[in-house]
Each structure stands twice: as C-alpha cells, then as structure tokens.
C-alpha cells in the first residue's frame, strides 16, 4: 500500500490550494476533487448522517483494502485519521457539505441540495486515483 500511496496519492500530500477567493462552486469542486472526500460523503449520504472520525477512517481503510487486495494496517488507518482530521474534513466543512467538530472528532452531514447529491453519486463510483 505504501508504494501506491506515495505514487498516486502524491497530489493529495501537497497543501490544498488557498481557498480565500473561491466562490461556492469552486469550494464544492475542490471538496469533491479528492477520492477520500467523495467516498466519505457517499458513505454518509445513504443514511449515516453522523460518523466519528475513527469510523470514517475505518470505512476508507476498508475501501482501500478492497482495491489493493492487501490488508490495510493500523498505520494506514492512522494516516487516514491524520489526513481526514487535518485536510479532508476541514475542506468538506468549508464547502458546507459536512460540519466537523475537531474537538469531538464528530462529522455531521449537512443537507445537500439535489444537484450536489447527484453529482456526488456520479463521481463516487469513479475509482480514479486523483486525490487519495
């Protein structure tokens, strides 16, 4: 897994571009640009409207395991926790898709308008590696 992450996930390791001048559409686009964020939203969209940080990392770790065909380890899970906490969840929060409480480590799905939900469902099935 390490190999793959260092390769395909490279873009994700870089800092998020500054978001100060983005409009709502730009923030949404950015929010949906990373696979991890789309996956988490997809998971929450169904009927899981609230998850803990740990739960989110477990689902993403499992998802990665099905793709790599290897076991996602505790270290992989820890990496996901860090990535979610420091990068993905703040971006989703800023885009108004979830609200994330970094102290409680709790994620709550915001109500999405229909077009956003549809766009998400279209995107989430794409197993690209653009932003793991």
């Amino acid at each position: 897994m390490g190999e793959k992450e260092h390769g395909s996930g490279q873009s994700d390791v870089e800092a998020e571009p500054p978001s100060g001048h983005e409009d709502a559409s730009g923030r949404l686009y950015r929010a949906l640009s990373a696979a991890a964020r789309r996956r988490l939203l997809w998971y929450m969209l169904d009927d899981t409207e609230e998850v803990t940080l740990d739960e989110a990392a477990r689902v993403l770790a499992g998802w990665e395991a099905t793709e790599t065909g290897t076991l996602s380890t505790e270290a992989d899970h820890d990496d996901l926790l860090v990535e979610l906490h420091h990068r993905h969840l703040p971006v989703l929060d800023e885009a108004g898709l979830v609200s994330y409480d970094p102290n409680e480590k709790a994620v709550v799905l915001e109500s999405l308008d229909e077009s956003t939900a549809e766009r998400l469902e279209d995107l989430v099935g794409v197993n690209d590696d653009d932003g793991r």
């Binding site: 477990r58 076991l71 505790e74 469902e121």
Partner: protein, 235 residues
C-alpha cells in the same frame, strides 16, 4: 450443564470483533459463520450500493487492527492454508489477521486435536504429580482406550483423579481413580487440573460436541479452571 454453557458463553467473548461491510447482506455468510465459530464477535454494517467490494474491519478491544477485502479473506481461509509462505511473500499486515485467527481458540475442533490437548494437560498433571485432575469422558466406555494412561497417572503420582461419564461400561478398579456417573456430560469432553499449590498450576479443556466436531476452548486461567472443577465436583 448450565454452568458449562455459561462458561462457554463467557469465554467466547473474545477481544476480537470483525465488522463486515457489504452492500448485500447475503454475501460473505460462509466466512462470517466461520469466524463466529472462532469465538469472534461479528457485526454487519450495510453499505449503500455502488461502493466498494465487501470488506472486514478487524478490531481488538475496540481498536482498529486491520481491514481486508472479503475476497482476500476467502483466499486465506481456503484450504490448504499456507500461512508461513503467504506471510513471507505477501505482506506483514496479514500477520494481524493470522494472529486473530490463532488467538481465537474456538474452532471446529477434531477429536484428534482434542486428544493432543488432553495429552498435554495429562502430562502437565503427571509432571507436577500432585493436585486434582477431573476428566469428563462423555461416556465411560471412552475411558477404555485411556486405561493405561490413567493407571500410570494415578499410580506413579499423588494425583487425585476423578473420571466422569455416562455409565455405559464398567471401568476397572484403579487405586487413585474414582468414577462418577454423569449422564448430562454426554456432549462434553472435559479436563481440568489444579495443582492446589501456591503457584496454582491450572489448566482446563472444555469441548462441546456439535456433530462430528467440537467447539472448544482451553485455558490456564485459575478461575475458569476452578469453575470447571467445581461443576464436576458438585455432581
């Protein structure tokens, strides 16, 4: 046999929990059943359709230990299990799963495996040479093939040996061995040993027959061992 049933239930609570994530409840039933017989708590989390392939999240005392796809888990469980080769070849991460499987002492155990564990307990009792050994043979006739072993155990040590079982056979008189009819034991293969010394050397095997195989656990825990001993002695 309620005490033994309760013991089974309590020991079965292993520290491991596998959470199966899938968008179809029916998939993976074989594998989840198999884990359940290893005493692992299984939970199913339904995923929305259109997401990942089914996978397991492996927890120990609530802590994430690993996640693995159903397909890969099925491969691992497929006999023959080439554990060492696989671990060396593929990934150190698999060690976690094998640890889980190894530490979960419950399984569909064969008579041969139970005999090996029984022998271990008997030899331990023999080496220490004092204390109490209580053995449930399902039926007393099963004792026939073990007569020599127990004659040696009882005569060459100071062990107090008690044999239990349904009385379908009249066992020979052996000094140091007492027999107890215990027809309720017919599903249970039991051994429990307590050295009754300050160091408390204890061990027990509890196996319950299900068809041709047994659900079983073995333990060195003094408290669990004494529960088995007390249950037998109470009769």
């Amino acid at each position: 046999m309620t005490v033994l049933e309760e013991l089974f239930a309590s020991v079965r609570r292993s520290p491991y929990r596998f959470v199966f994530h899938a968008d179809e409840a029916g998939r993976g039933a074989d594998v989840t059943e198999r884990f359940a017989t290893h005493g692992v708590a299984i939970e199913t989390e339904e995923l929305p359709p259109g997401g990942p392939a089914p996978f397991f999240v492996i927890e120990e005392d609530g802590v994430f230990r690993g996640a693995l796809g159903l397909t890969e888990v099925e491969d691992i469980l497929e006999p023959p299990i080439h554990r060492v080769e696989r671990i060396e070849d593929v990934s150190t991460g698999y060690r976690v799963l094998f640890d889980v499987l190894d530490d979960a002492v419950f399984s569909a155990t064969s008579r041969r495996e139970l005999l090996a564990v029984s022998r271990e307990i008997e030899e331990r009792a023999f080496r220490i040479g004092i204390g109490t050994l209580r053995v449930g043979f399902q039926k007393l006739s099963a004792f026939e093939s073990q007569e020599d072993v127990y004659r040696k155990l009882a005569t060459e040590t100071n062990l107090d040996v008690h044999v239990y079982g349904a009385a379908d056979w009249t066992p020979p008189t052996i000094p140091g061995v007492s027999y107890h009819e215990y027809p309720e034991l017919d599903r249970y293969w039991l051994l429990a040993y307590d050295s009754e010394t300050p160091q408390a050397e204890t061990c027990a095997l509890v196996a319950r027959q299900t068809g041709d195989m047994y659900d079983s656990f073995w333990t060195n825990d003094p408290e669990t061992t004494r529960t088995v001993l007390d249950e037998l002695e109470a009769d």
